[in-house]
Amino acid sequence: MNANLTIADVEKGQSLPDLSVAVEVTNVVLGAMASRDWRPMHHDKDFAVERNGTRHVFVNTPHNAAYFERYITDWTGPLGRLGRIKFRMKDSVFPGDTMVFSGEVDDVRVDESGCAWADVRVNLHVGGEVTTECTASVAIPQGEDDNPWKRRGEDWQP
């Protein structure tokens, strides 16, 4: 995880460091159980193949979201506070796949309340194909004395 990023460290067009994750059955099942998703296509290969027509069990949506959160906050450090995240899932991720997350800063801005934001675009690739597109807005400190987590009410406008 990065040390705490400040908004002065961020600029439009900047790339986020890639993250590569080898997916195993254990990952998929652990993510499903951690998100209380008991549906069999996330832990029972026979069910996934025979009923869903997929080649194996696959990563569920909250687990996917948790990966994106980790990817973004690995970059910002713990003072980075997610305000908004949007997904478009295009394909599933299976055991044996290697997920590669890559990202870029689309915009850097300060809102009316004085909160500094980085708008980022993150893609999840498997085998060179994008399986999930994500855009997110993450609040980043303006300086050493700023902490986006302290913002409440009118001062938090994600």
Partner: protein
């Protein structure tokens, strides 16, 4: 709006399916979620860091829907609770047998803290006119799932764009 049943028109903007989570926000699921993606953010692991930055341990924001997934079994439940019930209501009422979720946006409010007891409700924001896409002919809808803590503070809103449709024959 053309052909939209009165029942559906009445649902738009209405708070529906209010429920309270079956259990308090707890750390064990947070550890499991972080372990499943190797998230080492000290907000979830280091008490001193959490105290300094967020005033105590919080849950990863992306876990917001986790606290409402029903237990696999309980001794007194007669039927399984369905997340996104409004989505299925629209499918049924509009007689659209197929449906997809086109996208999902989550906006985060107050942090979710250990011991919080959250509640939720669903709101249908809009239903479109009939549209034809490569999937078939049907309607798009926007559905919000709103999450609040025990003090009535907004902790997050998930917005889903759904498309219910009938395949072209």
């Amino acid at each position: 709006m053309s052909g939209l049943p009165a029942e559906v028109q009445g649902w738009i903007g209405e708070k529906r399916y209010p429920i309270e989570s079956e259990f308090d926000v707890e750390r064990s699921y947070i550890f499991s979620s972080c372990a499943s993606v190797e998230n080492g953010n000290p907000l979830f692991w280091d008490e001193k860091a959490a105290q300094k930055i967020t005033g105590g341990f919080i849950a990863p924001p992306s876990m917001i829907s986790v606290w409402f997934r029903p237990h696999f079994w309980t001794p007194d439940r007669s039927e399984e609770g369905k997340p996104l019930q409004c989505h299925f209501d629209l499918k049924d009422s509009l007689e659209l047998p197929e449906a997809i979720i086109a996208d999902n946006t989550i906006v985060f409010g107050e942090p979710v803290r250990i011991g919080d007891r959250l509640s939720t409700y669903q709101v249908i924001r809009s239903v479109s006119e009939l549209k034809t896409t490569k999937l078939g002919t049907g309607r798009f809808w926007v559905l919000d799932v709103v999450y609040e803590n025990q003090d009535g503070e907004l902790v997050g809103t998930e917005s889903y764009t759904g498309f219910g449709y009938r395949r072209e024959s």
